[in-house]
């Protein structure tokens, strides 16, 4: 299946391949995965894609992305596909869905929310709509939209 272009990077024996990441978002996806300096990772950015024009790909050796991480990836890379590899074979294709609950990743935009004012209060958001993406703070009911979520996860970069 691999095209010549994808062969820049060798196949991995065990781990995860995250494909169809919107071009330029791979670095942010890595942020969610909290990779270590010693991890073996292949990062391919802005390669041609039939479906998407351009896309990014990440291959991580010896790490299987779990359900929670997969769902968080949807927040910034909704088109991504995640394949778990064991002994060079795809053993699982993870179906991505936007998480119902996001804990500790997004901050509440309401400065008077308890989550911004108590060291122990962790922000928790529940999904109230997928298209357009909207999430609500379970503590103060503040609703944040996709652009705010992106802004927070991606930081100041565009």
């Amino acid at each position: 299946m691999a095209s010549k272009k994808e062969l820049i990077v060798t196949k991995i024996r065990n781990g995860t391949v995250i494909d169809h990441i919107p071009a330029g978002r791979a670095l942010e996806v890595l942020k969610i995965l909290k990779v270590n300096k010693q991890d073996r990772i292949a990062l391919v950015m802005n390669v041609e894609s039939k479906k998407m024009g351009k896309k990014d790909i990440i291959k991580i050796e010896n790490k299987e992305v779990d359900e929670k991480e997969a769902n968080l990836i949807t927040l910034i890379a909704p088109t991504a596909t995640i394949n778990i590899i064991r002994d060079y074979e795809v053993v699982e294709k993870k179906k991505l869905k936007i998480p119902e609950v996001v804990k500790g990743i997004i901050k509440c935009t309401n400065l008077a929310c308890i989550t911004n004012n108590d060291v122990e209060a962790v922000p928790v958001f529940i999904k109230i709509s997928e298209k357009p993406l909207k999430m609500k703070c379970v503590y103060c009911d503040t609703v944040i939209d996709e652009s705010e979520i992106l802004k927070q996860i991606l930081g100041s970069e565009k």
Partner: protein, 297 residues
């Protein structure tokens, strides 16, 4: 129901049971229902009537009361976080009534606490026990809450009683709810999106005042406006005076969670529509009923 954090914690059945208990507690002032129990009043933010009415409600039920009525002079001033204060209060009490300046503080406290938490106001978020008092007053005057037209007027954005009342009304079938406010103080969109009854936002009460059965007045606070001249302009157009009352239905009622400043002129106090003092008189029996219900479950 272990905790009462939001009006959403109450079903219609809960409201009806509380109303029934409150009827009883208006006649029987002293009951020994909570004898041996301790109610902690944790008011991190100052309050007069909510604090006193919960205090009186707990005493009437035979409970002991401990607590503080402002953060001043407590370990909170030394920088103790809310979670630690709640853990500490868990050692001394069987239920905590709390008021706090931050939105969502009561829900957070409930997650930490081993004893029930009753939200007596968290920032600009909710104040559910006030809504029970509000709707009880409506019920006492009309015998029902269903089928009535409500008008909420004033600051609908920052007034926590508004959020709680709008949510409490989802448990009933109001005919219509008018939300009357200056555009900069209109009700929160996220609250409006949840409502299951017809409502409309209007800026001029003259359009709707003759239709309203229950006019619920909230104070417009100066500090909500970036510039004082804008506040002065708005303030004038949302004062309830006799001229306004003369346009209202004969059987309509005016409610206010109090304290009022000048949003209802004193001349209105003597009109048959003015029910805000009656409303305030229900604070103790309703809070007795709520405490009884929580301990009963």
């Amino acid at each position: 129901m272990r905790d009462l954090i939001s009006s959403y914690d109450l079903t219609r059945n809960d409201f009806e049971e509380i109303f029934e208990l409150a009827d009883k507690f208006q006649k029987v002032r002293n009951a020994e229902i909570l004898k041996g129990k301790t109610v902690a009043l944790a008011f991190f933010e100052p309050s007069t009537r909510t604090y006193l009415s919960f205090n009186k409600a707990a005493i009437n039920l035979g409970a002991s009361v401990i607590g503080f009525s402002s953060a001043e002079g407590t370990s909170i001033e030394k920088g103790e976080n809310l979670a630690d204060t709640i853990r500490m209060l868990n050692n001394y009490s069987d239920l905590i009534v709390m008021r706090h300046k931050f939105d969502g503080a009561a829900k957070f406290a409930a997650e930490i606490s081993e004893v029930p938490i009753v939200n007596a106001g968290d920032g600009k978020h909710e104040h559910p026990t006030q809504s029970v008092i509000d709707l009880y007053t409506v019920y006492k005057n009309f015998g029902t809450i269903d089928g009535l037209t409500f008008g909420l007027i004033g600051d609908l954005k920052y007034a926590r009683v508004v959020n709680s009342l709008l949510r409490a009304l989802t448990r009933f079938k109001p005919k219509f709810v008018y939300l009357i406010s200056p555009p900069q103080l209109s009700a929160r969109k996220e609250i409006l999106e949840e409502l299951n009854y017809p409502y409309k936002e209007v800026h001029d009460y003259n359009e709707v005042i003759s239709e309203i059965d229950v006019l619920y007045v909230t104070r417009i606070q100066k500090e909500r406006f970036p510039d004082e001249s804008e506040y002065e302009k708005v303030k004038e157009s949302y004062v309830i005076d006799k001229t306004l009352v003369s346009k209202m239905k004969e059987k309509s009622i005016i409610l206010h969670a109090l304290p009022r400043v000048n949003e209802i002129s004193r001349e209105v106090d003597k009109t048959p529509q003015a029910k805000y003092f009656e409303q305030a008189s229900y604070a103790v029996p309703i809070r007795m009923a709520i405490l009884t219900k929580i301990f009963g479950e």
